[in-house]
């Protein structure tokens, strides 16, 4: 009964989606406010029905109803409750349902909070949002119905892929989807603006908070996915330039560019056409990401099942939405009025440069990700494009971008003074160069790139703080005045500085872990000790432990530093009998930002083991940096000026300087 209820609710959501796709557009044509208003209620009701559908599926998983095919395929009655929940989206069908659930949430949010939006714009935005939603409802109902029943209900399920039985998986996909799907709002606004042929700074004011929100979730989602891969795959790596990872990085890069260009549009009414294009591209890249991950063209953890009809269906959605929106763009964009002027050396110019680097970096990732697929389709030749490619292409572009970051916030709008800014940045640059020199000297000149990289991140961090320090008058004015000034500073200024510090922190973590990390792969017998970057690790032996739906083999290690016991580590392997496979549970030992990382290899009959041991200095900064970036975004989002649904007068007064 419950699965049928969920299925039925999804069909109703589709019906509502179709109504919402057409009626508001007709209403906007005929200036009929009552027709346009229908979208408000349908958007909210779509959310309600999809939520009912999703809850129905969740309840099937929780109650282990193996008569439902996806539950049988991906769940097990012995599984801990949390994994019964997370396995809802640990498979193709359920994850698509999560996708439309989040889409429906965003649609309902626009309907609920968009009270101040111009009526026709809102009608168009909700209609476009509903086109996307309807396409995906159809996709689920026709090719990936999660509520399909089995003729005979088996007694036991086939279990969730053990790699996915991890707390990290509980949060990674929903966060990532909140990001991916959140960009649909920017897309809908862009398409709505093109339909109306009109766009102004108020448009950017609307789009920016939504983009920022999506960007925050995507940032956190990517970081979570990276940390999850780091500790579950047991290779000690945090980023593999796997096409599936790239699929999430591309919308992030384009979305970051969009955030910055929307600022220019909002403040200076310039770069309109470019911002619209970026909004379209960002969501298009999210769709491409969904296609790459869900169509089965790639082999990875994420390719749950490869069914050709699904791939073709998603490809069709992709072509219609990307092709359609770009055609609309080519047709309508020339009609949009040109915006404000600015000199090449100005805040606008710096943000254009930022966009240029980000989109070009995104392009290199795009080429590296899709070139192998294209080559195989055209010539049948199979290649793999790995880290070396991206280090050589993405790397230099990102370094150039890092150089430019501190300049942006210091330059004035319209016309800036590059020399003046360079002088103001001298202190930050000096600290950066000094850091480089010190590291270079300590390493007795053996390395060049790493000291340079660390110096660069230090320069970016100090550059970001310098901007704040100057604005509040630190070291110039009495502390009391500094304090009031700091409080008076717009939160978006704090947000910018903090996000920039975040990206520098992540880079610092990457550089340090890659340069000063050590790795040993050894065979060990019980009571043997290995030393690793100042730590002595003694292997005490192997024990077996039962788990809820697996048995684990645990290798026990004692960690000593300078002869003193500082902790213990227990890398293990879990064997899941239901699927006949094992997973690797790396052991992590945290000291400050540094980590020791042990990953268990083969366990032999005589009690000896093969083990990977890593020392990774500053590695935690990689993910902390991402969280800091996210917090910067949150601070910026909480800026009164940007608050979603902020009262009108505030919007007006903030608009004036831009006019």
């Amino acid at each position: 009964m419950i699965p049928e209820l969920g299925h039925y609710a999804l069909v109703l959501a589709l019906a509502l989606g179709l109504v919402q796709s057409i009626v508001p557009v007709v209403g906007a044509r005929s200036r009929d406010a009552s027709l346009m208003r229908i979208a408000n209620s349908t958007a909210v009701m779509q959310f309600v029905f999809v939520a009912v559908s999703f809850s129905a599926l969740t309840s099937c998983y929780v109650s282990s109803d193996f008569s439902v095919a996806t539950v049988y395929e991906n769940s097990h009655s012995m599984m801990p409750l949390i994994y019964k929940f997370t396995s809802v989206w640990g498979n193709h069908e359920g994850s698509m349902l999560l996708w439309v659930l989040i889409l429906a949430i965003f649609g309902a949010l626009v309907a609920a909070f968009g009270r101040n939006l111009p009526v026709t714009l809102k009608a168009h935005v909700l209609a476009v949002q509903s086109w996307i939603a309807s396409a995906f409802y159809l996709f689920i109902l026709l090719t990936s119905n999660p509520f399909l029943r089995l003729a005979q209900a088996p007694f036991e399920g086939r279990d969730l892929n053990p790699i996915l039985q991890d707390p990290g998986l509980a949060i990674h996909p929903p966060l990532l989807y909140l990001g991916y799907v959140g960009f649909s709002i920017a897309f809908s606004f862009a398409v709505a603006a093109l339909i109306e042929g009109r766009i102004d700074a108020a448009w950017a004011r609307w789009v920016r908070p939504w983009t920022l929100l999506a960007w925050m979730f995507l940032t956190l989602g990517i970081a979570m996915g990276s940390y999850w891969a780091y500790y579950t795959l047991g290779w000690g790596g945090f980023w593999f330039w796997d096409p599936v990872e790239n699929a999430s990085l591309m919308p992030w890069l384009a979305g970051t560019a969009l955030l910055h260009s929307a600022v220019v549009m909002e403040k200076r009414n310039a770069l309109k056409v470019w911002t619209i294009l970026l909004a379209i591209l960002t969501f298009s890249l999210s769709l491409i990401g969904t296609f790459l991950v869900r169509s089965g063209v790639l082999t990875s953890v994420h390719a749950f099942a490869s069914d050709p009809t699904r791939g073709v269906f998603i490809l069709a959605i992709l072509v219609i939405f990307i092709g359609g929106s770009l055609t609309l763009f080519a047709w309508r964009a020339p009609m949009l009025k040109q915006g404000g002027l600015f000199a090449p050396i100005s805040r606008e110019g710096a943000l254009v440069l930022n966009n240029l680097f980000l989109t070009t970096a995104c392009l290199t990732v795009f080429v590296g990700t899709l070139y192998p697929l294209a080559l195989e389709a055209l010539t049948g030749q199979k290649i793999s494009v790995g880290a070396p490619f991206f280090n050589l292409t993405f790397g230099p572009l990102f370094v150039a971008l890092m150089f430019a970051i501190p300049f942006g916030p210091l330059l004035a709008w319209k016309r800036g003074d590059l020399l003046g800014v360079a002088q103001r940045l001298m202190s930050a640059a000096a600290i950066g160069i000094a850091t480089t020199a010190v590291i270079f000297a300590v390493e007795s000149g053996n390395m060049v790139l790493a000291p340079f990289g660390v110096g660069l991140t230090v320069y970016v961090m100090f550059g970001a703080m310098l901007e704040l320090a100057e604005r509040v008058g630190l070291f110039r004015l009495p502390l009391a005045i500094v304090w009031t000034r700091a409080r008076g500073l717009p939160r978006s200024a704090w947000g910018t500085a903090i996000a920039h510090i975040g990206i520098a922190l992540s880079m610092l973590g990457i550089i340090c872990a890659a340069t000063w990390g050590t790795e040993h792969i050894v065979a060990m017998k019980p009571a043997q000790t290995v030393s690793l970057s100042g730590y002595d690790l003694t292997f005490d032996g192997v024990t077996q432990r039962p788990g809820p739906n697996y048995t684990s083999v645990v290798a026990e290690f004692a960690v000593r530093k300078g002869g003193k016991l500082v902790g213990s580590m227990e890398p293990s392997k879990r064997s899941f009998s239901s699927r006949g496979m094992t997973t690797n549970e790396a052991a992590l030992f945290v000291r400050g930002f540094d980590q020791l990382y042990l990953s268990l290899g083969d366990v032999n009959g005589d009690g000896s083991i093969a083990i990977r041991l890593y020392y990774k200095p500053m590695v935690l900064l990689i993910w902390i940096g991402a969280v800091v970036m996210m917090l910067g975004g949150a601070l910026s989002l909480s800026d009164r000026r940007l608050r979603v649904g902020a009262p009108k007068p505030a919007v007006k007064s903030a608009l004036q300087p831009a006019g």
Partner: protein
């Protein structure tokens, strides 16, 4: 500066950055990509010694030999041709005899010295490269990788 000059600066910078990116991409594509081969391809194409490649196939049963210092040797086969692989390190959890595997490394005379060994993520799926290699040598039966999919065990 006139509007025209400003636009020129903007377009000039964009073209400059894009040109740099294009140059980076082209040089990286020449130097850092790895071609995928089946064991038969290697035998037929007479690959240059020392060239980097990926090879996919099945681990031939009874050929896996491990020694104390984590050195392992095994044979990868596509059913038609075999290739010797030597690997120093820890083999992945799902590495088993008779199962699909993808190895990446350098060809040294007739032995592939691998630095990466990839097995499947899941017992239900076969790496696609392996499936294609097996299909090419005619040793593939449809539905093999999916195993007992859909039926209770």
């Amino acid at each position: 500066m006139t509007r025209k000059q400003r636009r020129l600066v903007l377009i000039g910078t964009s073209v400059g950055v894009l040109a740099i990116a294009a140059a980076l991409i082209l040089s990286a594509l020449r130097d850092s990509i790895v071609f995928f081969n089946s064991p038969t391809d290697i035998a037929e194409k007479h690959m240059a010694i020392g060239s980097r490649m990926r090879v996919g196939g099945l681990v031939k049963p009874g050929t896996v030999a491990r020694s104390d210092n984590l050195l392992s040797r095994f044979v990868v086969t596509d059913g038609k041709t075999d290739i010797q692989v030597r690997y120093q390190g820890i083999l992945p959890d799902l590495f088993r005899e008779g199962q699909g595997v993808v190895v990446e490394g350098k060809l040294e005379s007739s032995v592939l010295v691998a630095d990466t060994v990839l097995a499947k993520h899941d017992e239900r799926y076969m790496p696609r490269e392996v499936v294609d290699a097996l299909k090419k040598s005619g040793r593939w039966q449809e539905g093999e990788a999916q195993g007992t999919g859909g039926k209770p065990r």
